[in-house]
Symmetry: C3
């Protein structure tokens, strides 16, 4: 994509100072940008770079006064950093949603419908009775099972798999290799020591604006009609495990390799660190922070706490105990000395 | 699938009390079922619901006496809960194995054979010299490498990958994204600090009734002719790692994100909690329970123990130590006071 | 593949003692090999087996003197073990790179080029503007996004996914289900408690001789032009997480389920145990060993240390503390006794 400086300035309600016909095809840092890239100067600590930059154009504050000549065209805006961020997002969105059309061969089962501006990559699979919204991008080798629903503007990256009956909201992102709706790990022990699978007949619901990381797994609910539920705005990183019947609240973030055991309910605005985990059948209050590698052993009822530890508890208390754990050889020595005296 | 109440009653050896022509197409909870669903009343604590249920039919005990009028048709059976569970399983099995036929394009290499009632989803891949049994369901984008063998009634879900030479038993389930037979992590350090790959030429054997979770990985054995072995009835959850040359016994269950290091041998009827792990080259006795997040540092020789801890040991002893770990600030204070006195 | 004993002997600069026309089609252990397999006798502790072996041929030392008749043909070499290892590697390489040609249907986008001796499995996907070197093997259902580059002799196994713009060196191995270049987990908290995705516009570079395990994930860098970098010779096991902007040095090995948080830089010749992890934005010195399950909380500046622990520190100190942790009930008892006396 190429734009003239004049076009960009118009978009940002900015004023051009220099050659408005300069063609811009990308964004870059002021120190590294080339003559087809646009950069910005916000913090005047970096002012020196504007006199040597090779960028084609630079966004500066309306109040900026140059002390030396500048070769780049300037675009004067209210807030250069905010303008740059806005452009970056627009650019990213344009790139991310640039794919369209149907590459062949791809598969779509009977009674399935897709919206407008769809992309269906080669070897992507859509089962029967599937409803796909507008502007959905389904990459190569992705699998959307029978009876799934996918909302508008959702990205389903290469090789991700949605089991039958999954319901995916709008503006969701499902990264490569993620699995939605696999069987929960439910097995009933038999008298002879073997296990019998408990039928897992529920499904998964991802509400709007949910992001699922690469190779993350969300299991389906056990009962027909029930759902493992990830609420609006929640973001799961890569290689996360969400077991059957779990509910995760709104705007909760879970870092890589964390795992939530079956039937646990997690509140809104929680944060889980990498490799953290919870036992099953508990409730985690809103705004709980679970530090990396923590194991949560029981329900957290009070909002806003931070939990840390192998068997997690209050982070300050855990860190006090851990500091003394490191000092155990010293503590043991002190004890010995007292014993000698005694 | 639709059945009349009369058909279901005949199957369950039950007696119909009401309209036997009522059509049933699903199962539901007594509080939530609709007029095309069948439910059950077992525990009389829930009797109230039978007078208000919208279910088309309810299974009740032969001895049940209604206190008020009931709109649903009744099916009187010996044990309503057992009958419901049996129906649930039959229904689930029917749904699970409902796919059949070959969707195109799909790929099958030379000298490969498949049994009856096969399903081969679009973009599924079967290599050369592969033997697939009867009633095997291979979903879209699944990959079965050359020289693999797959037993009857095995489910190979979307995008799972079996490397060359894998041997899969009957009645196995391999969930989406699972990888069977990837190279073990074997590298010989060289004098210059680099590593040389040790050829991993063995394969993987899954015996009958084994279940492999989504995105779980089972590496192949190192030597040609040797196998990483998962014995009959064992169930692995999602995102589990089984390294090269590992043997896992019968009817062992391993929860999500657990990991077994190379050449370790695990007994029968063991239970591994989530995110647990073992070092390599050890032996774990039958009926060992390894709690969640535990690291097993050495062989467990006595059967029936439960191990817990970062470096795991007897669970009771670990919990005693951990309780005191939480009290370390108090212990330190008590020590200080004694020192003052001293 | 079949070779005569004479051909193998010529390759190894060995002398044939027996029938040089014996046909060999594989390698095996001396106790288990059949008449079409070649084995070796190096350690004379195992000499007894050479008199009973069913192997077609045995490599022995030039100085070996038999005490009884031997049915197998002998190949006399300088160092039988080294010769066997060399053959094993050659054989493995021949098997590993044996696939060639294009299976249909497979997909290749416009302006993309592939080298000689290529294998493109059925349902493999190559996007636009991709450059693939010579002797690259791309298995079924693998995905190579737009603008990727892949060096010579690289193996891309079934169902692995390379996002747009990934740069893969020569002699790399990417195992099944691995994901390279997925979005980093970057979300900016908004005032209303929701999160906004920070555009992840960088890419991933794997230098030469890098190995990526099955279902491992390497996220792309945040900024356009920046890369998450895995340097030459580094080997990642299965289910490993490498977050955005991470740099991993040369010849570092990371065992299964380990995870590196964003922007951390890891030195050369490091070793990470299974399920270990680091926080983000730190630096790990060359030759650091991080034991299994360890959490690294801060930069490691001195080379050659071994770190262990839930919040990791020097391994000797950690093990001293952990031994005393196990003795806490005893320590508590000793303290009580002093308190009683006091």
């Amino acid at each position: 994509m190429e734009f003239s400086v004049n076009q960009i300035a118009a978009l940002l309600n900015g004023e051009v100072d220099g050659n408005g016909e300069t063609i811009i095809s990308g964004l870059g840092k002021i120190q590294e940008a080339n003559s087809h890239q646009l950069s910005f100067l916000s913090n005047l600590k970096y002012e020196q770079h504007i006199y040597t930059t090779k960028a084609g154009a630079i966004m500066v504050s309306k109040s900026f006064v140059a002390e030396k000549p500048i070769s780049a065209t300037l675009i004067r805006v209210e807030d250069p950093y905010a303008s740059f961020t806005a452009l970056l997002e627009e650019y990213h969105k344009a790139v991310t949603f640039s794919k369209s059309g149907v590459e062949e061969p791809s598969y779509i089962g009977e009674n399935s419908s897709v919206g407008t501006d769809i992309y269906r990559g080669a070897f992507s699979y859509i089962g029967k009775n599937v409803k796909i919204g507008n502007n959905v991008k389904i990459y190569s080798n992705a699998y959307v099972g029978d009876n799934c629903t996918v909302g508008d503007n959702t990205l389903i990256y290469a090789g991700s798999k949605l089991y039958e009956g999954s319901i995916i909201g709008s503006n969701c992102t499902i990264h490569a290799g993620a699995v939605i709706g696999s069987d929960g790990f439910g097995f009933a022990p038999q008298e002879n020591g073997s296990y019998k699978a408990i039928p897992q007949m529920g499904h998964v619901i991802l509400e709007d604006n949910v992001s699922i990381g690469a190779n993350t797994v969300v299991d389906c609910a056990t009962f027909h009609g029930d759902a493992t539920l990830i609420k609006e705005g929640t973001k799961l990183d890569n290689l996360v495990q969400i077991a059957h019947n779990v509910k995760v609240g709104k705007n909760t973030v879970m870092a890589a390799q964390s795992g939530i055991s079956g039937s646990t309910e997690i509140g809104d605005n929680c944060i889980f660190g990498g490799q953290s985990a919870t036992v099953g059948h508990i409730t985690i209050a809103n705004k709980t922070t679970v530090a990396a590698k923590t194991g949560v052993p029981k329900s957290i009822k009070k909002e806003g706490q931070t939990i840390f530890g192998y068997i997690g508890f209050d982070i300050k208390k855990f860190l006090s105990s851990y500091a003394l754990f490191k000092s155990l050889p010293d503590i043991n020595q002190r004890l010995r000395e007292l014993e000698k005296k005694g």
